[in-house]
């Protein structure tokens, strides 16, 4: 039970990352690798503010998110104003962030011992509560409910935002930038804003993850782009990508489901060292299989 609740909570926290990846990869069609640096950036800023400066967890979390937005904006500026290939712009910022994160933390790992975090609460007043006949730690259930609230709130706000005039033009920017120019909107500025917003969410996810797992680590961003992409792909398989609301909801669900799958696989004896390989193979097959199926069915149709 503890394992299940833990996996659900991490899945929900990482769904913010998945939403960020959805914005860059799907809405803006921009393969943004900054993600791997900005999730750690959010975690390090939050951790250092909590440990060294004793700020409130809310302030630390917001600061982490702002850090991610700045990182995203830098990638956006490199890509649009300096005409650097999108992938390369992300790689440059990600690489630079590795040093920045070490500088911020002062070492490669900051534990969050004995500091109050967003996950220090217990909303139930008792130590254990009964969930569907199972005894579960009330503290863990609080963490789960809190992350659920965060994920739904962020997805809801994004849904509303992308239906405003500003949000609509940002979606159009990824869909047809020539049209957006002809409608008098600055494609470069929209892209910078979008990548910044996405990395803000990713850093927010990092800040929450650090507080939940009790440490920030320089390596924690490794493989996170593929992780987010896997969540987005699962989400699309679950809900289809037709409408914006379903796509956002699907991404959150995809993140939870993917985390559950990973937890189960590890439980069944998957070597944790192989996890990233498995994730990469999963995403690859999710990208390639539909093409193979399509070409097979086309061939079948010709024979028939």
């Amino acid at each position: 039970m503890t394992l299940l609740i833990g996996a659900l909570t991490v899945g929900l926290i990482l769904s913010l990352l998945a939403l960020g990846v959805y914005i860059t990869f799907r809405i803006f069609n921009f393969p943004d690798i900054t993600t791997e640096g900005s999730i750690t950036l959010g975690a390090s800023i939050a951790a250092v503010m909590l440990v060294n400066f004793h700020t409130s967890p809310t302030v630390a979390t917001i600061a982490g998110m702002l850090g991610g937005m700045v990182a995203g904006a830098v990638t956006g500026v490199l890509h649009t104003k300096f005409r650097i290939n999108g992938l390369l712009a992300g790689i440059l910022v990600m690489t630079a962030l590795y040093s920045v994160n070490l500088r911020i933390m002062g070492r490669s790992n900051v534990p969050l011992m004995d500091v109050k975090t967003l996950f220090s609460h217990n909303w139930f007043g008792t130590d254990t509560i009964n969930v569907f006949g199972w005894d579960a730690s009330a503290h863990d259930v609080t963490a789960l409910l809190f992350s659920l609230g965060m994920a739904l709130a962020v997805a809801g706000v994004l849904y509303l935002f992308f239906r405003t005039n500003l949000g609509t033009v940002m979606r159009a920017t990824g869909d047809n930038d020539q049209m957006v120019k002809a409608q008098g909107s600055d494609v470069e500025w929209n892209t910078i804003l979008g990548v910044s917003l996405a990395n803000g969410l990713i850093a927010l996810s990092g800040a929450l993850l650090a507080q939940y797992q009790g440490f920030s680590d320089a390596q924690m961003g490794l493989g996170m782009v593929v992780w987010g992409l896997a969540s987005v792909i699962i989400g699309e398989a679950l809900t289809g990508s037709r409408s914006l609301g379903l796509a956002l909801l699907g991404t959150v669900m995809g993140s939870i489901l993917f985390r559950e799958l990973v937890a189960i696989a590890l439980r069944w004896g998957l070597n944790p060292n192989d996890l990233k390989l498995m994730t990469a193979i999963f995403v690859l097959s999710a990208l390639v299989l539909p093409q193979i199926v399509r070409s097979l069915s086309r061939k079948g149709g010709r024979h028939a």
Binding site: F161, R163, T164, N165, L166, G167, T168, V169, R171, A172, D175, N176, Q178, M179, V180, K181, A182, Q183, G184, S185, D186, V187
Partner: protein, 270 residues
């Protein structure tokens, strides 16, 4: 209204692929006039339109529109004043967004886009009425993705989008060239309707002589980056397709003459 002065543009300057697309264009278009630009492939007619729209900056010369010097304005800044329909039906609309959302974008062309609701009730109300004027039955499909429509439907909607907020200048870049004849006719009829109703200043590029004869109150013929003929008023009204053909034939002969003369000279003296 629209004033072009000494416009020059060379692509790939200094390389073997150098193209001198515009070679000193001077043009003055009055408010409310409908100008048709005709020319062969590579005559620079689309380049002229793109220079006005701001797809690139010109090498020399000035462009002013409604008394403002827009020579150094970027494309999206010029869009405040200019409505545009492209040759490809895919260029003017966002395929994965609904018809209504596409119009929500057009309804704020060149304006500030804030956090107010894109599909406001007021927009939806106007939208249904104005899309109904197309008589394509699209007013009941406003939630459908733009990408699910045919090229003709998309061009008709793009035209409606470009003129949703009355533009100072309407640019039409061979906007029926990619359509089947029936859809092309439909879009041309719609163009006449919209332009005459709102008395829009319009610059239309075409390579259809029939369109050049039937539409507009002024005809400009371009060749090799220069304006060759500029017909207006009674001259334009009297024009028939045969006259245009003979003018093109004349150009062709003159060039052939140039080429054969050059060949003769090179054979004799080189």
């Amino acid at each position: 209204m629209l004033e072009l002065h000494g416009i020059r543009k060379t692509f790939n300057a200094g390389t073997v692929n150098e193209v001198r697309a515009l070679q000193g264009i001077n043009l003055n278009i009055e408010k409310g006039s409908f100008v048709v630009v005709l020319g062969t492939n590579g005559s620079g007619k689309s380049t002229l339109l793109n220079a006005v729209a701001g797809s690139f900056f010109v090498d020399e010369g000035t462009i002013s529109l409604s008394g403002q010097n827009i020579t150094n304005w970027k494309e999206h800044q010029r869009a405040k004043l200019i409505g545009r329909v492209f040759q490809s039906p895919f260029s003017g609309t966002a395929p994965h967004m609904s018809i209504a959302e596409n119009f929500a974008l057009a309804a704020r062309r060149g304006k500030h886009r804030g956090l107010s609701w894109a599909l406001s009730p007021k927009l939806m109300h106007n939208l249904r009425d104005r899309v109904a004027t197309l008589r394509m039955g699209l007013e009941n499909r406003l939630d459908n993705a733009m990408g699910s429509l045919s090229g003709g439907q998309r061009q008709a909607l793009t035209l409606l989008m470009a003129t949703w907020l009355e533009p100072q200048l309407l640019l039409l870049d061979e906007h029926t060239a990619a359509l089947d004849p029936k859809s092309a006719d439909q879009v041309i009829r719609l163009t006449e309707e919209v332009v005459s109703r709102d008395r829009l200043t319009t610059l239309m590029v075409t390579h259809s002589m029939q369109q050049a004869v039937n539409l507009g109150d002024r005809l400009i013929m371009m060749h090799r980056g220069q304006i060759l003929h500029d017909l207006r008023g009674a001259d334009k009204a009297r024009l028939r397709v045969e006259d245009l053909l003979s003018r093109f034939e004349e150009i062709r002969r003159r060039e052939q003459l140039d080429e054969s003369a050059a060949l003769m000279l090179s054979e004799r003296y080189v």
